[in-house]
């Protein structure tokens, strides 16, 4: 298949366009801008730590807002196309399912990158007007947030292919996101557990992506770069979720 790249790009660009044209996108944008601006209040209350609070709270809000929107998109994207029968117009054409899936996931990841980029511009402007310099590891923090969002997007697509509704996909993906931030604790529990409990906990560690790997500003000194191994792990999780999704999609009838 020599034209796989333009086909994937066509699906991704269409998916991105639909994401940013969605009425919820405007609502999320307004909420995000308001929330980031409101973090000024928390910063003022932090007195001596205003710069750190403003930076960390802003980054966290950006990540959570983008998470909410991309999970909404990833959980409803395929379902909506099947419900509106738009998928008939796609799969009755010479579009391989692996390309369609890659394009759809790529479109949602593009949306995540776009949202992070726009919100970070606003966040940095806010920091600048408050008289603070660029926070340490800011770029790494954004890259880490994007990696986490890309991993959870791929998982949400996988879940959406077997779950009965977009709400259940949202819930399952939300649980996975939360568990992904407690992998160190799960590992600690596995090391101190015995028998079946230990086996189960070790299996969970393998199945759940370790999203803590991408928390750049959690590292000592808050200025550490994300290790290349973390990016490789992220890519492996995305690939695994993509292949599992493809296995389901290839068998799906419409």
């Amino acid at each position: 298949m020599k034209n796989w790249l333009p086909l994937t790009w066509a699906v991704a660009a269409n998916s991105f366009g639909e994401s940013v044209r969605h009425r919820f996108f405007t609502l999320f944008s307004v909420f995000a801008f308001t929330a980031i601006y409101a973090s000024v209040l928390a910063g003022v209350m932090a007195v001596d730590e205003e710069a750190r609070v403003l930076a960390d709270l802003g980054l966290a809000l950006m990540e959570l807002t983008t998470l909410a929107y991309v999970l909404f998109q990833a959980s409803s994207s395929l379902l909506k196309e099947a419900e509106t029968k738009t998928i008939y117009l796609v799969f009755s054409r010479p579009v391989p399912r692996w390309i369609y899936l890659a394009g759809k996931m790529g479109g949602v990841m593009l949306t995540a990158a776009f949202m992070l980029a726009v919100m970070s511009c606003m966040h940095l402007a806010l920091l600048y007007f408050r008289g603070f310099a660029l926070p340490a590891a800011y770029g790494w923090a954004l890259a880490g947030s994007f990696c986490k969002l890309a991993v959870i997007t791929a998982f949400a697509f996988f879940v959406s292919l077997f779950s009965t509704s977009s709400v259940s996909t949202l819930v399952i993906s939300g649980i996975l996101w939360t568990l992904g931030h407690f992998v160190s604790e799960t590992r600690f529990m596995a090391e101190h557990a015995y028998g079946i409990k230990a086996v189960l906990l070790k299996a969970v560690i393998w199945l759940i992506p370790n999203l803590q790997l991408f928390n750049a500003r959690d590292a000592a000194g808050a200025a550490a770069a994300i290790a290349p191994a973390a990016f490789l792990a992220g890519a492996a999780w995305i690939l695994a979720a993509y292949l599992a999704s493809l296995w389901l999609l290839a068998r799906k009838e419409f």
């Binding site: 333009p6 086909l7 044209r21 029968k85 738009t86 008939y88 117009l89 009755s92 010479p94 009838e253």
Partner: protein, 245 residues
Amino acid sequence: MTSRAVTFSKVEKTYKRPRLLGAAYHTAVQDLSFDIPAGEITGLLGLNGAGKTTIMKLITGLLFPTAGSLKVFGLPPSGQPAKAKVGFLPELPYFPPQVKPGAALAYYGRLSGLSGKDLSLAVAAALERTGLEPHAHKRVAEFSKGMLQRLGLAQALLHRPDLLVLDEPVSGLDPLAIHDIRKLLAGLNAEGRTIFLSSHSISEVEKLCGRVLIMVRGRLAKTVSRAEWEAAPGGLEAIFVEAVK
């Protein structure tokens, strides 16, 4: 090109619906064998639930047969080479309301492998052919049902397919829109394209088709040629009523 656009040979399609305990099975079509000759307009008639849409989806590779074999121009329908030769209009096609028809068509054109100048020409030709050119500046949200159906037909025509599969192409349209679509389909057939359409409107099928397949509860009850229904008292309607009773 083979003289048969589509060949069904003992095709069966059974749907599996997962239940809390086990699954429920429903056979939509069974023991289905027929050909659609290339270059002709073939109609598909049947009551609701007779299996018309299942047949359309099997031809376009959206469903896979449970048993039997199915070929489109001698190729498996789920493969890319067969799909490149087919244009599909589903019943009540959906387009994002905020886009303009040209943008919607450009997307589907890209998915059909068109790009650059070829894509622009194909979009312009499809808009002109379906009479949507004067409405090209409007958003899909402003379109009437007839205009949406034309847009659906335009996306099916973009890549100049050899076979057009149309599910209820005149459903819910006003008489003028029906007249225009009939004229368009006759023109496409005159160019040598094979058309396979399903409809609930016997009179429309009678006007357009050279041959009609009548489905009853998932089985092919009768194949009728134009000469047969023209010679029969009561025409196609009488034959259809007799077959489905």
